[in-house]
Amino acid sequence: MSRHNDLLLQEGLYLTRRRFVKGLSLAGAAAMGLHPAGLLAGAGKGEGMPRLRGREFNLSLSQTAVNFTGSTAVATTVNGSLPAPTLRWREGDRITLNVTNLLPETSSIHWHGIILPSAMDGVPGISTGFDGIAPGETFRYQFDLKQSGTYWYHSHSGFQEQTGLYGAIVIDPKEPEPFSYDRDYVVVLSDWTDEDPNDVYAKLKKLSHYYNLNERTHADLMRDLERKGLSATWNERKMWGEMRMSQRDLSDVTASTYTYLMNGTSPAEGWIGLFKAKEKILLRIINASAMTFFDLRIPGLKMTVVAADGQYVEPVTIDEIRLGVAETYDVLVEPAEGVAYTLFAQDIARSGYARGTLTPHPSMTAPVPALDKVADLGHADMGMSMHHHMGHGMPAADHSQHEMSAPMDHSQHQMTGGMDHSQHTMPTHGGKPQPNPSDFSSGPVKHAPTEYGPHVDMLSEDPQYRLDDPGVGLRNNGRRVLTYADLRSLHTTREDPDPDREIELHLTGNMGRYMWSINGVKHADAEPLRWRLGERLRINFVNDTMMNHPMHLHGMWSDLESGDNNHLPRKHTVIVQPGSRISYRVNVDAEGGWAYHCHLLYHMLGMFRTVIVS
């Protein structure tokens, strides 16, 4: 290890080759009304996101010129940095943040996954007494930290999140972590476009598949004819033709406009994380993108997941993780001595990737894998009965699930414990106490009258719990992919009370018209959800669309029913897979107004509810 390297390692945890605010001319900065010195001060921190530590922070939101694509564009940034500075806090501290808005429009910061009073949550018009931070104003956020782990923060105004207003939060725990590591790196994944996000949204409304450059073509038809034969191919085409849907509707916005970033570094350059021999590294992976689901793996390295959405889980060793927008995972890796590895995060539509290198030396790199083949959505992704499944791509457990699809008595089910299908959705833990399985026996699905109309193009006829389904594009790919069925809270949740009541929410939309809603009602037309302080809710989602929706509840944890109710993992963002069901429990313990929405930026305008807890 050279002295140069040691210096790099000492300089900070976040090392990138990125030229900070590339292509910036002082004249250009002046023209935008920015003080050049401010930008240079940001850039002076070196080649990563600046790291701010302490109890009190001054953050200023401003426009900054960036260049990720070869041309200069204007980003919205915190202290001139994209991603925003990484905030390092300590559990138990009272944190004060003075956020000054130097943008020409109203802004806000939401502390994603942090449990705090509504007034500090930063959602204009919903958080108690908060209407956003007007241009030129400073808002003082102050709250006590009752948690530890990896989180993030972002703007909750307009499309500012798309244009760069996001950063990492790391909260060091009071008690030592239940695992050890020698070094930790934040890995912020995001999607950048030079386009104005308003134009992106307008294009999606005018031509919803505008950014899809992986539609099925002649070649796919010929391949199907060869592999499946005429009759099977005809039946499949007939079905999709009747539904009038694209089997490749995997992601609304793709690399046709996006440049995927890892810690603000484009794949052309690649982020670099250095390590020393025999080090154990904790990667704090954050999907801070506006619209992109990332599938992340490190060829040659196993990852041991130790926390999901900042909360400890029983360690599980895997090859690959799908990160829905806004999810975070902490993974431990133990690189071999003298070997470089590629952190490879491809988007769900297989249109591009974000990339980094874990390496003992900046000059050592590893090969970058090719993008996976684009997947076709399957029957299950349309919420269709598995009885006419086409036998491709589905994990075995789904078959047993549909055999068990007869409605069954709830109490009887809990008494008998390990029913066939429940066991299927649980990881096997030899010698562990008898699990307390969730009731995954879903009766016939009921759709509200508001779900019928021109604003909804699909209703799931037989949505299933698919916790052990890694999702479209990851099924049977030869790698061990993390699923929600793998997530078990490290701490017991045996003492948690049973739910007092259940509510069902259907995720709805019309892809062609690019309209999104919940229960067929968009946010602008919806009454707030009113929850009682102190109650425990079970929320059952049904996805009546063919897209994954990462649902984020502000202010309260989502205790995900991943199989064993004695170990419900706590999440702030839960992926609801296309055509599926999923359930989680919520302790309604936070008074005030809260946002509850799909975290895909261009879905959330409609697929959103205000929650009022009183």
């Binding site: 018009g125 956003g132 409304k205 968009k522």
Partner: protein, 233 residues
């Protein structure tokens, strides 16, 4: 009227979403040049323009549709439609309004009621019933399909028929099946918004329409090669 109120309230009334700087259903417009093409025909090569404009919201829009045919620098056919469009189901809009045929002379006015949308098997369909002067009823059915050879190379077959209940000799319309045309266009999407194409079009007039055409010295049936541009913004 309710929609107009929404137009106004969207501008003046501050809602929660607007406090977040977000409008889920903004007022948008789209200008589409479906066809701008030069056809090779016997005699003068016609220039054909088929354009549409809409302005509005997710479920309610105003549409303008126009069709123009100009062989040899002289307009032979010019039609304009002004329609209110309302989404009635996931894939279908009902469109109601007025059509005026500016050329040929004399001008003809029609009431138009149509269905526009995506039929099963992904056919883009525009079916419109026209009620003209002196009890004339016309029906136009247009269907188009897109077959992707690659992500950018798209083959698009199109079918159009016109039916009428009465003869209208002044403008060359015959009752029954008046005309039928089939088109096949192969476009290359340089951008989704910008696609030059080549193609072929076959059209035929039937019954009295055919007779009227013969009297005017026009072709009853014609095959035309064509080059053109499809664009929108």
């Amino acid at each position: 009227m309710k929609r107009i109120m929404t137009f106004i309230s969207a501008i003046f009334i501050s809602t929660t979403l607007q406090a977040m700087g977000m409008e889920d259903d903004p007022l948008l417009y789209k200008v589409m040049i479906e066809k701008l093409e030069l056809r090779e025909a016997e005699g003068a090569d016609p220039l054909v323009l088929d354009g549409e404009v809409w302005i509005g919201y997710d479920l309610d829009k105003f549409w303008i549709k126009s069709e123009l045919e100009r062989p040899g620098g002289e307009t032979e056919e010019l039609e304009l439609q002004l329609l209110y469009s309302r989404a009635i189901s996931a894939f279908w809009d009902i469109q109601i309004g007025w059509r005026r045929d500016l050329v040929p002379d004399p001008e003809r006015d029609w009431l138009a009621v149509g269905l526009k949308g995506l039929a099963p098997y992904l056919f883009e369909v525009d079916a419109t019933l026209f009620a003209g002067e002196s009890g004339q009823i016309g029906l136009r059915l247009d269907a188009e399909y897109e077959y992707l050879f690659t992500q950018r190379l798209v083959l698009s077959p199109e079918f159009e028929i016109n039916l009428h209940t009465k003869d209208d000799e002044e403008v060359g319309i015959g009752s029954g099946l008046s005309d039928l045309s089939l088109g096949l266009r192969l476009r290359y999407e340089v951008l989704k918004e910008f696609a030059p194409y080549v193609g072929i079009s076959w059209s035929k007039r039937f019954g009295d329409s055919a007779d009227f055409a013969r009297e005017e010295g026009e072709d009853v049936s014609d095959v035309q090669w064509l080059v053109g541009l499809r664009a929108w913004f």
